[in-house]
C-alpha cells in the first residue's frame, strides 16, 4: 500500500489505508485521523427523475498520479499534518459503492478536518479523472462544476 493510488474496484478498502497510516514511523505522534469516503449516490446530476445506476471512471493515469502526489505534498507541509493518503477507483462503480478515499493523519482534529476538506476539493478539481453517470434512460459526463459534485 502506497500513500496514493488508482485502483480497480475491490483492490483497496478503507481498512488498508488506515493500516498504512498505522505503520508509519511517526504514527504515535498523531492525535487524529480524518477520513473521507466518496460513494456513488442514486440522485442524478440532471434533474431527470431517473435514478443513477452506476458511474464509470476514466483517468489519464500518469498525470493523475502526479497531481495526487503534488496535492499530498502540499497538504503535508501544513502545520500539524503528518500524512495524507488519496486513493481513487478507476472502474465501473455502482450506487452505494465507494470510489474515493482520502485520509489525513495529524496532530489535532482542527488540522486534519481542514486538510481533509481541502484535499477532497483539490482532488475533484485538479486530478485528471472523469466520470460518466449512467441512469436507466441516459448517460453523460459529469464535471466537477456540476451540482453537488
Amino acid at each position: 500500500m502506497e500513500a496514493i493510488g488508482l485502483h480497480k474496484k475491490g483492490e483497496v478498502e478503507l481498512g488498508q489505508i488506515l493500516e498504512y497510516l498505522a505503520n508509519l514511523p511517526n504514527y504515535h505522534k498523531a492525535g487524529a485521523i480524518a477520513c473521507f469516503t466518496g460513494i456513488v449516490r442514486e440522485d442524478p446530476v440532471r434533474e431527470s427523475g431517473t435514478k443513477v445506476t452506476h458511474l464509470e471512471y476514466e483517468a489519464y493515469e500518469e498525470a493523475a498520479l502526479k497531481t495526487m502526489e503534488q496535492i499530498r505534498q502540499d497538504m503535508k507541509k501544513r502545520p500539524g499534518v503528518i500524512e495524507v493518503s488519496i486513493h481513487h477507483v478507476i472502474d465501473k462503480v455502482n450506487v452505494g459503492e465507494p470510489s474515493l478515499w482520502v485520509a489525513v493523519l495529524g496532530d489535532h482534529r482542527q488540522e486534519v478536518f481542514a486538510t481533509l476538506s481541502e484535499t477532497v476539493d483539490r482532488v475533484k478539481k485538479e486530478v485528471t479523472i472523469w466520470k460518466k453517470e449512467f441512469t436507466a434512460a441516459e448517460s453523460y459526463w459529469v464535471s466537477s462544476e456540476a451540482r453537488g459534485h
Binding site: E62, A63, L100, T128, I129, K131, W141, E145, H149
Partner: protein, 107 residues
C-alpha cells in the same frame, strides 16, 4: 485505433517541403483524447503531421477539421503538452505528446 492526419497545407512535392538545410519541414505530433473528447473524436489517439514551425493553435485547427464533433466542446477543452499544462499558444516540436480533455470530474 490511431489515425494519421496530414495537414492539407503540406505539399506532396518534396522540394516544397524542404527547409534551408534541405531537411523536410514537417513535424509529427501525437494526440491523446480522454473522456468526452475521446468519444467525440471517435478515437483514443491520433497522429498529426504538421508544417514546421507549428503551434497549438495550428494543431487544434487540424484536430477540429479532422473531428468536427469536438467543436461543441472546444471552448472547455484543456491540453497538456508532454505532461505539462498549457494555457496559451505554444510552439510544438517533432514527437510532442499532446493530451486533450474536457473539465475533470473525479470523486
Amino acid at each position: 485505433m490511431c489515425f494519421r492526419h496530414k495537414s492539407p497545407n503540406r505539399s506532396n512535392k518534396l522540394s516544397e517541403n524542404l527547409n534551408a538545410s534541405g531537411l523536410l519541414a514537417s513535424i509529427t505530433v501525437n494526440v491523446a483524447y480522454f473522456a468526452q473528447a475521446r468519444e467525440l473524436a471517435g478515437t483514443k489517439e491520433d497522429e498529426f503531421v504538421l508544417n514546421d514551425p507549428a503551434d497549438m493553435n495550428h494543431l487544434l485547427s487540424e484536430i477540429m477539421n479532422a473531428h468536427p464533433k469536438l467543436q461543441g466542446i472546444r471552448d472547455v477543452l484543456s491540453s497538456l503538452v508532454n505532461g505539462r499544462a498549457v494555457w496559451e499558444n505554444v510552439s510544438l516540436n517533432h514527437g510532442d505528446r499532446v493530451t486533450l480533455f474536457p473539465p475533470v470530474g473525479g470523486g
